[in-house]
Amino acid sequence: MTGLRIESFELRRGAEVLARLDVTIAPGEVLTLMAPSGAGKSTLLAALAGALPPGFSHGGRVVLNGRDLSGLPTAERRIGLIFQDDVLFPHLSVGQNLAFGLAPGGSRTARRAAVDQALDSVGLPGFAARDPATLSGGQRARVALMRALLARPEALLLDEPFARLDSALRDQIRRLVFDQTRARALPVVLVTHDPADATAAAGPVTNLFGQPVPLPEAAPILSQKISHGGPGV
């Protein structure tokens, strides 16, 4: 069985239930979760990645391409995670950030080539030696995406990855991300405030309890206003 199966999954803080999901995400499909800030979206993603913060607990299990992930540490789950701000390692160059993600093995030349190719593929040729701090927001987002993909994850979690980008760039990066995840047939969980993200994801849209969330008719200008003024921006 392929895809990401989230089975009878319940996220709790003390006795309070923050999320309850039972859903399968097929390869190449994007599940969009929409909820107000503070509802526990980021914690839910951390729980799926196996990094539940202290004070939280969960029930149920997560099965990825037939592997039960229960009890596996984050490093062995093969689930990628992309944050709202890109969380590039500030002490490493762009190329070293990517090489950190790259699965181990291969000669130094081969690894450098893989990194350069990844940079080429997102329109950042020759960026390997650059300091991440000198990159624009859009460039950093692309590096963060490629770093996650070079680790060959079997699923990808996106924690409002477009919220910090300005609107023109947001469209472009969104398209890039979903093209890449579809091309690699990755099941994706996206949490967001922005209905435009959900529209672009073109998959099921629910709240943290699996109930469908209706999207407004496509109204990009309005949706951008909401996302700018909404909480968490």
Binding site: G50, A51, P73, H91, F100, G101, A103
Partner: protein, 555 residues
Amino acid sequence: MKGAGAALILPRLTLALLVLPVAAGLAGTLLPAVSGFQALIGWPGLPRAAALSVISGAASTLIALGLTGLIVAMLHDRPGFALLRRLLSPLLAVPHAAAALGLAFLIAPSGWIVRALSPWATGWQVPPDLLLINDPGGIALTLGLVAKEVPFLLLMALAALPACDAPRRLAVTAALGYGRLAGFALAVWPALYARLRLPVMAVLAYGMTTVEMAAILGPTLPPTLSVQVAEWMMAPTLDRMETGAAGAALQLALVLAVMGLWHLAGRLGAVALRRGAEAGRRVRMADGPARALAALAGYGLPAVLGLALAGLALWSVAGRWDYPAALPEALTLKHWARAAPALGSTLATTLAIAATATATALVLVIGCLEAERRAGLAPGRAAEAALYLPLMVPQIAFLPGLQMAALALGLDGHWPAVAAAHLIFVLPYAFLSLAPAFRGWDARHGLAAATLGAGPARIFWRIRLPMLLAPVATAAALGLAVSVGQYLPTLLIGAGRVGTLTTEAVALASGGNRRLIGAWGLAQLVVPAAGFALALALPRLVFRHRRAMLAGGAA
């Protein structure tokens, strides 16, 4: 969880290293003390020596705390304050002995201050026969302690200030018409003092029991109790050591009693402050004088310390320098050349001890902080208190016990044993300096690395430790400075056979060869200064192409 037990080894070991030597040392001091009390009580200097310890320690702590409060209250949000803030760490790194030697040069009858005023103002053609240092009342000692402890308390206060909500509370009190001093005292100080309690106790314990500062600046006949105890402990006969142990026990009792009184006074002070708040007096008139005094203390004390150290430097290269000339007639390097062979070998010993103690402390502290993250532990109050234990229990009260244990085991007089003793005092400073950076590290970097397949070890070595290079380098420099500055542990555990720059400089102090004292006193500064320079330069060099690392935002 797998590895959780193993992860706790380092925290437990560190805790043991903080608590056990102190406890064992205390026991080892108190046991032989019983047979020494007779001789101690028979010493005619006892009442005066004990009174000197109590008064100079308590007075210097009270003045230093008062000045610290005043400086924070009146100056902390002033533009010029950034400079003072930057000066604090270097000032803190100046060994007590070097500061005392420099101050002694500055205020002695033939020192810079008298020279600057003579003969035009004082009429003195020869150095006056005044006890400006080593005065029987311990005033020079008290002032020296104040000068050295204000930077420490100020640094601790500034670290605690963000948790005290000062800007908003001061804005509220100002809007209600309170003067700055009154607003600060009534609304911010109670919260700030609550966080300063342990450092203040450490200052009090140090002030009451310092040996090296009292030996240089303090009275001589009799000296303070701790100086006398150290003399007894260094005597080669058993009955003298027993007298010393009894003196150490008395010293401990005095410190505990003064700490108890201090606590009571603090309670009364808190009541008085609440009464003051009820009374509603705005006391705006106090702000002018308070600001002037704060500026005088805040900028004057570093200037005095700076002058003192400059005096050391000048004496070390002074040729003929007649009284009352303010400057020597000629400069020469011959004193340095003459001291060089002895300086070189002593520097090597000093460095070996400091590097060993600091490296061990860093491994333990970083191991603790990493274990804390991996096991998801929250730091406990008891563990925080244990950190201050070696700083709050007077050295003179537990080192004699350790000295006798080292003697029994044949470890005394070897530098690794001295390094082990230094470790007890380097550990707390290394921890206090590193913990905020490690605990403040953005854990999302760890999560990002884990989702890329990195295990805990790889995250630590490749991400967390390199990102925290700057604070680790600073903690290393601080550790070196603390070790270089240690006098009593070196003297007692080294059994007089392990000489460091500090013990040699203090030993020279009584000899009166100013040029030699200047050279050795200055040499004491070299290791801490080089350490802090390296700590500043290293991250700037390593991360010269990493803008976010230089901004300090990531660490």
